[in-house]
Symmetry: C2
Subunit: 196 residues, 2 copies
DNA sequence: GCCATAAGTCATCGATCGATGACAATGGAT
DNA sequence: ATCCATTGTCATCGATCGATGACTTATGGC
């Protein structure tokens, strides 16, 4: 049961539904205002429920945050032989340009970026970026400095996400996926080509 | 007088020095923990002074933050005819790879990124990125989609900064400027070239 | 050495924070 | 209809937050 469903239905006591609604409201709040800028009273207020339920169902604000941002990313990555440009193109569509409506349009990694003042969140952010993406990139590249070039590609994709949702730069925010993909492909292939 | 000087010298009543020390301590705190994660008692405690002085000298925490992050960036941008690749190379050195010791090694724009949960900070961040960098980039590029390609270049540089200092990805964090500049130049020129 | 002004301290306010445990209301099983 | 486990509410705690105004101390000119 989603948050919207929860609000429209008449109030029925349903632990699972309330828990899910709290989780979804928490995602929105954390995405918009960061960890420190969000209070458990805000989240509970969005759901229309008592703040004490947050602690009953999640134990603490920290654990609620951990569960809220821990969504499986549809990586679409595998050990197939697809070239890097295909992967970045897919990621551009599925990650950067995807509308993460559960996080108010922002990717969970960007949500964590906004709360990176807390060391635990920062560590988790680095771990997920490195393990989920950078290692895969490096594996598809040749050359001695594959790791560095892989992180350059990651920096480009991450920067695109930051510009689009966090900064809100005009051209990139309005651009469509089709307009952007060819330009990104140019930059990626320029890195992937082996030069002397 | 810097914060370090202030701490080593014997305590003398000096309004300008105390103000400057508070400002420097605030920069470090805000950079490391974000706006909401930093308290005026923390900042004053770093300087070894009473928290009330913060409000006497800066009026409010908001104004202290505004003054702390408002440092002039040595853009090195002008209306000369230098090609874009030269500009991005200079920015890579002076902005991304520069050690902003007053902000604990992070660029002020990244510091603002960490506090972008607050709408006022987010607006200021967008304004500075667009006005200081993106417009200059677009002016140096030809073609119909110069704005979009300019923001792609900006996204790359911003992503590099985020990867280096906020995420702390291994390869980019350890890489030298020399190792990185040629790779970045490849990506930028791939965008700047006019293709049919 | 005295004194007025500037610099710094102290006590405290009201609000909000995360968190806890006692209590009330609900609903299904019998 | 009764009972009991589950669900949700309420009151409240201690800590911390930004902010204010009265008070104390040091400093420079005389």
């Amino acid at each position: 049961m989603t948050y919207a469903d929860f609000m429209t239905q008449p109030k029925r006591r349903d632990k699972a539904a309330t828990r899910a609604a709290l989780l979804e409201a928490a995602r929105l709040r954390f995405a918009q205002h960061g960890y420190d800028g969000t209070g458990v009273r805000d989240i509970a207020g969005d759901v229309g429920v008592d703040p004490a339920l947050v602690f009953r169902y999640f134990g603490s604000k920290d654990r609620l945050y951990g569960e809220a941002v821990n969504v499986e990313v549809p990586a679409g990555l595998g050990d197939d032989g697809r070239p890097l440009a295909h992967i970045t193109d897919a990621l551009l569509h599925d990650v950067v340009f995807a509308d993460w409506e559960q996080f108010d349009g922002e990717h969970p990694l960007l949500v964590m970026l906004r709360s990176s003042g807390r060391p635990a969140i920062r560590d988790q952010l680095r771990e997920r970026i490195c393990a989920d993406y950078l290692q895969d990139f490096a594996g598809r590249m040749g050359g001695v400095d594959a790791d560095l070039r892989a992180e350059l590609v990651g920096a480009l994709l991450l920067g695109l996400g930051v510009m689009r949702s966090l900064v809100g730069s005009p051209a990139l925010s309005d651009a469509t996926f089709e307009e952007t993909r060819t330009l990104v492909a140019r930059m990626v292939t320029a890195l992937d080509e082996d030069r002397p």
